[in-house]
Amino acid sequence: MRELNDNEIRVIGSDMAYSKRTARRRWLVAIVAVLAALAVLAGCLWWTSRKGDAPAAGTHAGALEGDAPAQGVAMEREAATAGLAARTMVVNDVPLVIYEPRNLRASLRVGPLPDEPVDSIVMALQAADLRADNLQIVSAFVRQGELLSRGTAKLGFCAIVGDSIMLGVDRATPYFELALNEGGDFFRQYPLVASGKVVENVIKNKAIRRALALIDRRVVVVVSQTRESMHDFAQALADAGAEVAVSLVGSKMSTGWIQLPDSLVRPEAADFIPASELPEQVNYIVWTK
């Protein structure tokens, strides 16, 4: 069902919005959008033909310059060889590994993964936290458009709709409703960076930290190689150029895997937990081919 704007009405049960004026306006907007898209496409073709191959993504440390972006940012899947690219960097004495999914499809999954990695899942990392008392998912969680958990206890969010991943920090976000309406996925976690600035959290202990971050306009997974406080990790992400970053389940107790072209990284290498001992609601963000 299409989302309405404030100037439209719809009789419930009908798919059509009732507005002659907006219908006319929509045609106009569509024509303008098509013309603009053609102009951008022509510009891009001209630019790439002039410049040759696009340069590789930068790996500089330091905050991005210019205006802070909106908190929800969409990233489109790129046409490239499917797989993961990994790079390391040290920011403020915090060693980080940055995993960049290329041409992989992200989605959420609920329930324990098999003990042995499966080929189709290139990367699987625990997404939303579980409550210690009842082992249920904390905060809002949507899987394939189905609402599995409610709440806004954590303000960071990740929405996956189609081929786009949106990261942001907000109590109320239209991406939640979009995920529900479009059969997408959505979960909440601790916010780490918003608009390039560190978001303070109450968690003070040190642990191996993981995050989804938007760096150089790409959604990447960042893992600390040493136990860090949430603040130090968030500061390192901000200094590494993250515009938005949302935490993932950390510590060496979390489960999942990262399949690199030449090696396999398992977060729980020190404390392997078999699937049979994991709670039913354990959930993952997975990247598949």
């Binding site: 704007n5 009789v11 419930i12 002659k20 004026r21 939640f176």
Partner: protein
Amino acid sequence: MSDVCLIISTNSDLLRLRCNSIVCVEADGNYSQVRLSGGETRLVTMQLGQMEQLIAKQLGAHGSRFIRIGRSLIVNREHIWHINLGQQKLEFCDAMSQRHSVQASREALKDLKDLIEKENEGIKR
């Protein structure tokens, strides 16, 4: 038609609302405020879009008495009493003569007025 009910069920409770008793549903962040005839309101832990889907799914053809207006309002057309384009105000009057008004955009109210007029003409024919 008067005994058609909307069931809103969560983990902890269940609301059974006669459709005629629902005056309107207003968005309240991630939640929705259901206003009932008599002036009572109930906060429901659903977004307005989910409420719209629930109405369409549960009520089917009966759901057409409800109209979504913009992003923040669902109204029961049976209770619409006054559309004021000048003040961008929509007023309801329920069976118990309780009145309630909400704000909506002029464009949306114009469309609503147009829709009701057209349907009325259709009935007359």
